[in-house]
C-alpha cells in the first residue's frame, strides 16, 4: 500500500478547492463563481447517487434526472401551498423520491441490460409529462419558488455562503454514506450481484430485493439534490427531468470514473467547468465538447480516475 498516489493527491486538491472556494469568492469579489459551484456541487451529489446504482450495482439507469424533479417539485409545491419550513419540505422531498424509486425500481428491475436502460428512461419521460400537465403548478412553464426553505434560524438558505456549505456538507455526507455502503455487507452483496447475479442467487441471496433497496437509496439521495437544486435556482420546471439531463448525469459519472468513490464528483466538476469555460471562449462550445466525449470513451477508459490511476502504476 503506497501512502502517496497521484489520484489521491488530485482528489484531495479538488476537495480542498471546493471547501476553500467561498473564501476565494469573497476575497476576489467574484460572486459568479460561487453560484456556479453551488450548482456543480448539487449536480455532483446527483452524479454520486447515480454512481451508487451504476458503478456499484451495475444498474444503468437512464432516468435519474426524474428524482431531481421529484425532490424539486416537492419543495416547490409545498412552498406554493404555504408550507415554507425546510423541516417539512426536505423530509417530504426525500420520502417522495424514495416512494417514486420504490415503484419504478420494483417494475424496472424485472428487466435487464438495454431494456433496463430504456424502461428507466420511459418512466422519467412519464414523470416529465406529468409535471408538464400540472396546470396548477405552472405546467410547462415551471414553478417559481418565491421563498427558499426556512430552517428557522438554524441556517439561512438565502445566504450564498451558508447555502454553498449546506450543499457541500450534503455532498460529503452522501459520499461518506456511499463509502460506508460500499464496504458493508449489503454493499458487497450488491457488488457481487453486478459481477454475477446467477451465482449470488445460487448462494441464496434474494437478488432483486438487494438491488431494489440500493435503487431506493440512490433515488432518495438524488431527491435531496433535487430539493437543493430547487432552492438554488428558486425555480423548478419539467425541464430538469428531461432525458438529456439524465444523459448529462451519466456522462458525469462515466467521465469521472464509474464505480470509484470520488469519480462522479470529479466528473461533475470537470464536465461543468469545461462547459462553462468553452462557452466563454466560443458560442459553439458543444462542437468541442461532443468530440471530446467521444475521444474520452475511445481512449480514456475508466474516466478521470482511471487516467490518474495510470500515473500511479507508472
Amino acid at each position: 500500500m503506497k501512502t502517496f498516489s497521484v489520484s489521491k493527491a488530485f482528489t484531495a486538491l479538488v476537495l480542498a478547492g471546493l471547501v476553500l472556494l467561498p473564501l476565494y469568492s469573497s476575497l476576489s469579489g467574484n460572486i459568479f463563481i460561487l453560484t456556479l459551484f453551488t450548482r456543480i456541487v448539487i449536480l455532483a451529489l446527483a452524479a454520486a447517487s447515480l454512481n451508487l446504482i451504476m458503478g456499484y450495482g451495475g444498474m444503468m439507469s437512464f432516468g435519474h434526472a426524474a428524482y431531481l424533479g421529484v425532490g424539486g417539485y416537492a419543495v416547490g409545491i409545498l412552498a406554493q401551498e404555504g408550507v415554507g419550513s425546510g423541516f417539512i419540505q426536505f423530509p417530504v422531498a426525500l420520502a417522495a423520491s424514495a416512494i417514486y424509486a420504490l415503484v419504478i425500481g420494483a417494475l424496472s428491475l424485472r428487466t435487464r441490460g438495454v431494456y433496463f436502460i430504456m424502461i428507466t428512461l420511459a418512466f422519467a419521460q412519464m414523470a416529465y409529462y406529468v409535471a408538464s400537465g400540472l396546470a396548477r403548478y405552472g405546467g410547462d412553464d415551471g414553478l417559481t419558488v418565491y421563498k427558499r426553505s426556512d430552517f428557522s434560524g438554524l441556517i439561512n438558505l438565502s445566504n450564498r455562503t451558508q447555502f454553498y456549505y449546506l450543499c457541500l456538507a450534503c455532498l460529503f455526507g452522501v459520499v461518506l454514506l456511499i463509502w460506508r455502503i460500499g464496504n458493508s455487507r449489503f454493499g458487497l452483496v450488491v457488488q457481487g450481484l453486478r459481477s454475477n447475479e446467477q451465482r449470488m442467487q445460487a448462494i441464496g441471496f434474494p437478488a432483486k430485493r438487494y438491488q431494489l433497496v440500493c435503487f431506493v437509496i440512490s433515488g432518495t439521495m438524488c431527491g435531496l439534490a433535487g430539493a437543493l437544486l430547487a432552492n438554488n435556482t428558486d425555480f423548478v420546471s419539467p425541464a430538469v427531468m428531461y432525458w438529456t439531463r439524465s444523459g448529462d448525469l451519466m456522462v458525469m459519472v462515466i467521465l469521472g470514473g464509474m464505480g470509484t468513490l470520488f469519480g462522479p464528483v470529479m466528473g461533475a466538476v470537470v464536465f461543468l467547468v469545461l462547459e462553462e469555460l468553452l462557452s466563454q471562449i466560443t458560442e459553439y462550445w458543444a462542437l468541442i465538447m461532443g468530440p471530446l466525449l467521444l475521444l474520452i470513451v475511445l481512449f480514456g477508459r475508466g474516466g478521470i480516475m482511471g487516467l490518474l490511476g495510470r500515473f500511479d502504476r507508472g
Binding site: 438495454v114 436502460i117 419521460q125 400537465g133 458543444a286
Partner: protein, 305 residues
C-alpha cells in the same frame, strides 16, 4: 366520421414514419449491438440536407434524392471514422460516445445553417387534397408519405429475407465470428448496414420536414419514440418494429385528437385542455412500461441467443 378517418390516416402516416427511423435503429442495434443515440441526428441531417438541396435544385424530388444520398454518405463516414471502434464495447460507452455526437451535430448545424429553423416548401402537385373515399379528401403529401414508407418497408423486408446480402446480414446478427470465418468481409457489411440505417433515418427526416419545421434538436424527441418502438417490438426485429411503430403512431395521434374531448366529460374544460396533451404523451411510455413488465424482451424477440 371524417375526423375519425383523417386522424386514423394521420396515425398511420406518423407510425410509418416512425418505422423508417426505428428500422435503421433496430438493424444497427440487432446486428452490430450498437446503441446509437445519434440516430436522431441523422434524421435531423436528412431534413437539413433536403431543405438545402431542394432550395438549390428547385426540384423537390431531385433535392430529396440528393439529400438521401448525402445522409447515406454521412452515415458511412460516421461509421468508418468513429462508431466502428465502439463495436464490442459496453453499451454504456455507446451511450456516452453517441451522446457526444448529438452535441456535435446540433452545434454543427447551428454553425452552418444558423439557429433559426428552415422551411421546406412543397411543390404544388403535392399540396392538393386527394379524394380517398366519397366525400373524404386527404392531403396528397401525407398520402405520398404513406405510400413511400410502405414501399420502403416492403423493399426492406424483401431485401433482408430474400436476397444474398440480407442473408449475410441475418447471419452476421446471429454469429459474427462464424460469418467472418466463412470469408465474408464483415467490416464492409457492417458499414453498409449502418449506411442503410442512416439513409432510412434521413428519409424519415426529409419526409417529415415539410410537415414540421426543420430545426435543431428535432431528432431528439423522435429518437426516444423510436427507442420505445424497438423496445416494445423486441430489439433486432424488423417485423416487431413495424407493428410497434404503427401502434405507437396510432396511440400518439388518436390520443392527441380525441383525449381532450373525452377528458372534458369528466374534468372541467381548462383542466382537461392542460391534462390531455400530457396524458396522451404519457400513454406511449405507459404502454412501453406495461409491455416490459409483462414481456421483458419485447413483443417479438428477434434472435434468441
Amino acid at each position: 366520421m371524417l375526423l375519425v378517418v383523417e386522424q386514423f390516416l394521420n396515425g398511420l402516416q406518423f407510425g410509418l414514419l416512425l418505422f423508417l427511423l426505428a428500422a435503421g435503429l433496430t438493424l444497427v442495434f440487432g446486428i452490430m449491438d450498437l446503441v446509437n443515440l445519434a440516430h436522431g441526428s441523422l434524421y435531423m441531417m436528412g431534413a437539413y440536407f433536403a431543405a438545402t438541396f431542394v432550395a438549390w435544385t428547385g426540384n423537390f424530388v431531385l433535392g430529396a434524392m440528393l439529400a438521401l444520398g448525402a445522409t447515406l454518405l454521412l452515415g458511412i463516414v460516421l461509421e468508418v471514422t468513429a462508431l466502428r471502434h465502439l463495436y464490442g464495447r459496453d453499451h454504456l460507452d455507446h451511450v456516452l460516445a453517441t451522446f457526444g455526437l448529438i452535441l456535435f451535430f446540433n452545434e454543427a448545424v447551428r454553425l452552418i445553417w444558423g439557429p433559426a429553423g428552415l422551411a421546406l416548401p412543397l411543390p404544388g402537385w403535392l399540396t392538393v387534397p386527394v379524394p380517398i373515399l366519397p366525400g373524404i379528401h386527404y392531403p396528397a403529401y401525407r398520402l405520398a408519405i404513406i405510400i413511400v414508407a410502405l414501399l420502403v418497408a416492403l423493399l426492406l423486408y424483401l431485401g433482408v429475407m430474400r436476397t444474398r446480402i440480407g442473408m449475410l446480414i441475418r447471419a452476421g446478427a446471429s454469429n459474427r465470428e462464424m460469418i467472418g470465418a466463412l470469408g465474408i468481409n464483415i467490416k464492409l457489411l457492417y458499414t453498409l448496414v449502418f449506411g442503410l440505417g442512416a439513409a432510412l433515418a434521413g428519409l424519415a427526416g426529409l419526409m417529415q420536414a415539410p410537415i414540421l419545421t426543420v430545426q435543431i434538436g428535432m431528432g431528439e424527441n423522435i429518437l426516444i419514440l423510436a427507442f420505445v418502438i424497438i423496445v416494445i417490438g423486441g430489439i433486432g426485429s424488423i417485423r416487431g418494429a413495424f407493428l410497434a411503430a404503427i401502434f405507437v403512431g396510432m396511440i400518439d395521434t388518436l390520443g392527441r385528437a380525441f383525449l381532450p374531448n373525452l377528458l372534458r366529460q369528466v374534468l372541467s374544460s381548462t383542466a382537461a385542455s392542460t391534462a390531455a396533451p400530457a396524458l396522451s404523451s404519457m400513454l406511449i411510455y405507459l404502454l412501453m412500461a406495461i409491455v416490459l413488465v409483462v414481456r421483458p424482451e419485447g413483443l417479438f424477440p428477434a434472435n434468441r441467443r
